[in-house]
Each structure stands twice: as C-alpha cells, then as structure tokens.
C-alpha cells in the first residue's frame, strides 16, 4: 500500500447525512470481479441528476469529500471505498463514520477523518462560497486546512501508523504465525468444521 502523509486537493461539500453504501455504490455495480474501475459507479444514482455536486465544475475534480454525519452506513461492501478511491478521493471527512466503512477505508489507504460537525459546517461554508478551494490534509499533524481555516481531526493511532507506513495487514499478521499455530492446537474438539458432516 502506498504511504499516506499529506494530501492536497479540491474539497467537495456533500451536505447529506446518512450517506449509506447503497448510495455510494448501488448493488448493480457489485457484480464485477475486478478490483479497479469503479469510478463510474460512485454515487451513480445521484450523478444522474445534473445538479449533483460531482457534476459541477470544479467539484468534479475533487479529492477531499466533506460529508454529513453517519457516512458509509449499511452494507459492508468494500466497493464503496474502491469507488471513492477510483474516482480520485483520498480523504473523506465526516463527524461520524460507520464502523465497517471506516475499517475498509483504512485498509485501502482512503483516510476517513473524523471532525466535529461544527468544523464540518465551517468547511462546507468555505467550500461553497469559494468553489475549488484546495484542502490540505496532514496525517502527521492530524490537521485539515483550507485558506485561513485549520481544524483538527481524529483517526485511530494504529490506522494512522499503518497509513503513514503503507503497511498491509496480512503481512503484519503473518508475523504472528507461531501464535496462530499455537492457538489452533488448543481449540476444543467439539468445534465444527465445514468438511465432513458428523453422524449426530
């Protein structure tokens, strides 16, 4: 995974709460078996409306999404993160993220930055009054800045470290293979396996 330290790009104000993963990427796009090329699927239903923010210049070139609370609720589909990344987003800012979405984002190098809703409001006002404003997200310092505005954000320490270093999870876990072997030797015999059905 590519390390993430700072990112600067056009901020996109998305004034909606409860942006669920069915909105981020409708189920019809989940039929693909590749891992890339989901940019056309992002917010597909909303993008049919020509006034939707991503259809408006310069927001269509945005890479920092600023959304209302409860972003990424609903389905566990990691495609939501792929679609955001494939479109060009590197950061999503919200006051509250759904757990699974936040986890998926961290694994794919998309930064889910938690800010106070009052700060999100300030960002929205700035981005709406001056479309095209660039936002800089500094993961080292945990700050979001745009024009004269600088606000802090939260991200859990472990995710921050992994993003900064660009580490992949499976590789990290493989370092504990001895622990896994040892644990497996202690599992009780009554636990099921999916292979041969017991005669029970």
């Amino acid at each position: 995974m590519e390390p993430f330290t700072t990112h600067t790009g056009i901020g996109v104000p998305l004034r909606r709460s409860n942006v669920d993963t069915d909105q981020i990427i409708p189920a019809v796009y989940l039929k693909r078996v590749a891992r890339t090329g989901f940019e056309d699927a992002l917010f597909a239903a909303w993008r049919a409306d020509e006034d939707f923010i991503l259809n408006v210049e310069p927001f269509s070139r945005g890479s920092v999404l600023v959304a209302g609370p409860d972003f990424g609720t609903g389905s566990s589909r990691e495609h939501a993160v792929w679609a955001l990344k494939d479109y060009g987003f590197r950061v999503v800012i919200s006051s509250r993220f759904a757990d699974i979405f936040r986890g998926n984002a961290g694994k794919q190098g998309l930064l889910a930055a938690r800010c106070e809703q009052s700060d999100v409001e300030l960002l929205w006002k700035l981005l709406e009054s001056e479309p095209g404003t660039e936002v800089t997200v500094d993961l080292e310092a945990r700050t979001v800045s745009a024009k004269d505005l600088t606000i802090g954000f939260e991200v859990d320490e472990y995710t921050r470290w992994r993003l900064l270093e660009g580490f992949d999870d499976i590789g990290l876990t493989m370092r504990s293979e001895d622990n896994i072997d040892a644990f497996e030797r202690t599992r009780p015999s009554f636990l099921p396996t999916t292979q041969a059905a017991s005669t029970g």
């Binding site: 693909r32 078996v33 409860d70 389905s75 566990s76 990691e78 504990s176 896994i180 292979q195 029970g200």
Partner: protein
C-alpha cells in the same frame, strides 16, 4: 468485575493481545463466503501466492445474484453469471466447499450456516456481508467484514480487531399476538437511531427475548447492523441447544456434552457492566413499519407519516423532507392508507420456515389484492423443501403469490427481482435505502404477518385489520 457475553467470546479467541495501539488478533471459527464480496479477495491471494489457511472452516454459497426462477438454466445476466462462475472456480482452486445454485443446501449464507448446525454458541463467525450479525442469535460473536478482511481471514483465519463496546438491550414483557421480533428490532432501531449502536455489540436480553424461538432471535440479531452495531448477541439457552441438537454439523456424543457444558457458561456475569443500556417495553409494542429511507425512520402502523415542519432540528428536518420526497409520501397520511404495488416475503431477515408459516397462516383462504404482486422467496432450498412438505406453497399459490427458488432476491435486487422506478413495496427485508430494491423503488420494511395482511388489503395493514 465479571464479563459480558461478548467479552467472554472475545477473550476465548485471543490469538495475541495487541500491545499499545495495536489491535488484538482474533481467531475465526467459521468463515462464510458468497459470490459478491469474495472475488477480489481470492484474486489477492493468487497475486500474493497465498493459500486458504483453513478451507475446513470455510463454506461458500451462491445467493446474492441467483435468479429465483429457471435456476436450472444458465444465468441470463452475463455479469451475474461471471461472478457466480468466478466463485465456482475460486472454490475449486482453493478447496472450499460450495453450495451452488440448484444444490439442496444452497441458500442465503445466513440461513445456511444455522440450518447446517455450523453456527454454534461461543464461536466467532465472519462473512463479507453486514448481516452476519444474524448468527449472534446463538451466542456467537458474528459480524460482517469487508473484502480486504475476507482475504485476511482466508489467508490467516484471524482478524486484527479492537474490542467492541457492549450495550444491553433489555426487552421485558410479553409481545401481543401479531407482534413479532421484527417489530421489536424496528422499534429498537427507531429508538437508538441508525448510528446509535456504532462501535457496540448489542446484547438482547430480557423475558421477551428468552421466550423467542431461534428464528425470531435471528431476525432481531440480523438487523443489529441497521442500528450501526457491528454485532448482536443473545445468550444461548435450552432453546438454542434444542435447535442445534441433531443438526448435521452439531457436535454429537461426548462432544455434545462437552459443548453444552461450555455453552452454559456463555452468559453475562451478574456483576458485569455494559458500556450502555437501553430498555424496550415489549407489552406496549404494536406492528412497526418504516416510512422513510433508512431503517431508523419507522413508526407504529397506527401512526401517520411524520410532518417535517414539526421537527426542530434542521438536519433531521431536511432528512425527513428528502425521505418523504423520495418515498412519494405526504405528511399526515395515515400509514394504513399507504397503498403498495409489491409485497416481498423473504431475505436473511425473514426468509425462514417460521416466517413462511406465519405469512401462510394469514393468506390461507384469502387472496392477494388485485394489482398487487407478491413474491415469496425462501431463504434456502431446505426451507423451500420444508415449506413444500407442509403444503405452504399451495397456500401462497392459491392466494395468487409467486412461489420462488432460494436467494437474496428482491432484498437488494442484484438478480432480476427488482422494483421499477416509483414502485412501492412492503418488504420483510432489512433495508429501505433509496434504490435498494431497484432504481427508484420505494420500500416499507415490515414483518411477515404485516406483509401478508398488506398483500390482502393492498395497503399497509396488520392481521387485525382483516
């Protein structure tokens, strides 16, 4: 201080406790796989030259894409067909047991696991599907994961995770006739909100839960995710043991005795402390339906469509306005006056035999209203067979409903079972998101008996309206 049920299961699966900011490494007892969230995970394994560590703890089934008619034919939609064929190839290459379309054990993952007896108390169960919380009904710690995590579990049979907080959901009292666990969970979500459970494992407890069947408990745990919770759990008891006994993957002989002894220890200690607690009065609940575009936007069926003007909070008013516009509803309309075009009975929430029985009980000697179509989609082929053995399919067909093959179907419209723009459904599924059941489709979440009564009257109804 004692431990909660969730903490006990967590601690029994610790491969390694994280140091400092590091997450814990947790062992996974059962990994369920389906065609939608797995192809990129298997591809990742291939690219890294990795194997599936424990194919014997992994089970795959085809569910999200499968048509519910003509399953003996190749899938017509080439993209769906590719996804299903990709799963078949991946399972063959990596040695994973698969129940494909047409197989006697095929069905929705969350119906298949429990009916095989693979879902057991005190186990950890994951699947690339948020409704994995269903399995918590057995006292398993079960939660949905993303595709990267699917790959991680395939490769290592573990997951790095940070402990969840725990929330007790106390449901005390006795449910009135016609009120089901679906109504209870819709009421819970409406009370705590779609984000209210975030970061928590919900533990459902109390006298109303204790008297529920396993299938009713599964319905409730299934929708924990709609309150934002990662998982829902219920302490195993005699009802649980009775359900499991004799199932093909349940322990037998001396293993059964050892297992039951262990399972009995899986209760929250009396001196354990939850991070949060909510209480619901079961006695006062009535059938619950959603009016909006998230599962927290629900009300008792006797109420009216809410009026955004009466909502002080700006954000919540705007959310209500958006929802009413999408749903094509006018503020103040009695919910009982809302006419539907389609009724969907099925899904991992309410596609089990008891759900079909209760709906058939309402439909017996009645007819589905003219201009209403009703789809009945069993959660698995085994549920379908059992329903046919009991003659339920004849009741549905005599009433004018369509009797289909097993799968996820119209819950999320990845197969041909979809709503058309503006079409309105009463659905026993779990999500009323915009476009979830088909682009422009409008969904009201309901229980199986409300679905059946609605099919008969053509407007949102409960059995007592008949």
């Amino acid at each position: 201080m004692g431990s909660t049920l969730a903490e006990k299961v967590w601690n029994e699966h610790l491969v390694r406790r994280g140091e400092g900011d590091e997450p814990d490494l947790l062992y996974i007892d059962l990994h369920l796989v389906h065609e939608v969230t797995s192809p990129q995970a298997f591809e990742g394994l291939r690219l890294a030259g990795r194997a599936v560590r424990r194919p014997d703890l992994t089970l795959a089934t085809e569910d999200h894409n499968v048509p519910t008619e003509g399953v003996e034919l190749p899938i017509a939609d080439p993209v769906s067909r590719t996804q299903v064929e990709t799963l078949r190839k991946n399972c063959a290459d990596f040695g994973v047991r698969l129940h494909p379309m047409g197989d006697a054990e095929q069905g929705i993952v969350h119906v298949v696991g429990p009916q095989l007896g693979l879902t057991q108390p005190g186990t950890t169960v994951v699947c690339g599907d948020s409704h994995t919380s269903t399995h918590g009904a057995f006292g398993a710690l079960a939660f949905g994961i993303g595709t990267s995590e699917v790959e991680h579990v395939l490769a290592t049979q573990t997951l790095p995770l940070r402990p969840f907080r725990t929330m007790a959901v106390n449901i005390e009292g006795t449910l009135r006739p016609g009120v089901t666990s679906k109504d209870v969970i819709l009421a819970v979500i409406s009370k705590i909100g779609t984000g209210g459970g975030q970061g928590y494992v919900l533990e459902y407890r109390g006298s109303a839960v204790e008297s529920m069947t396993m299938e009713a408990r599964m319905t409730m745990c299934n929708m924990s995710i709609e309150a934002g919770a990662r998982a829902g759990m219920i302490a195993p008891d005699e009802t649980t043991f009775e359900y499991l006994k004799g199932r093909s993957h349940a322990p037998a002989g001396a293993d059964w005795d050892a297992a039951v002894e262990h399972w009995k220890s899986l209760r929250t200690d009396s001196d354990a402390v939850y991070d949060a607690e909510v209480t619901i009065d079961a006695n006062s609940l009535t059938p619950f339906v959603t009016w909006g575009t998230n599962p927290g936007q629900g009300l008792p069926l006797g109420e009216r469509v809410p009026d955004p003007e009466s909502i002080a909070d700006e954000e919540s008013r705007a959310a209500t306005e958006n929802a009413l516009e999408y749903m094509g509803l006018r503020a103040g309309t009695p919910l009982r006056d809302v006419a539907v075009d389609t009724v969907f009975l099925g899904s991992c929430t309410n596609g089990r035999i008891e759900d079909l029985r209760s709906a058939a009980g309402i439909l017996r000697d009645r007819r589905v209203a003219e201009d209403v179509r009703m789809l009945v989609v069993p959660g698995s082929m085994r549920v379908r067979k059992q329903a046919e053995d009991e003659g339920l399919h004849e009741v549905f067909e005599a009433a004018g409903a369509e009797w289909r093959q097993a799968g996820c179907s119209m819950c999320l419209g990845m197969n041909p079972d979809q709503l058309t723009p503006g079409e309105r459904s009463a659905s026993t599924s779990n999500r009323n998101f915009e476009g979830r059941q088909g682009k422009g489709g409008r969904t009201h979440l309901v229980s199986p008996v409300v679905a059946a009564a609605t099919a008969v009257r053509g407007t949102l109804s409960s059995p007592e309206d008949l």
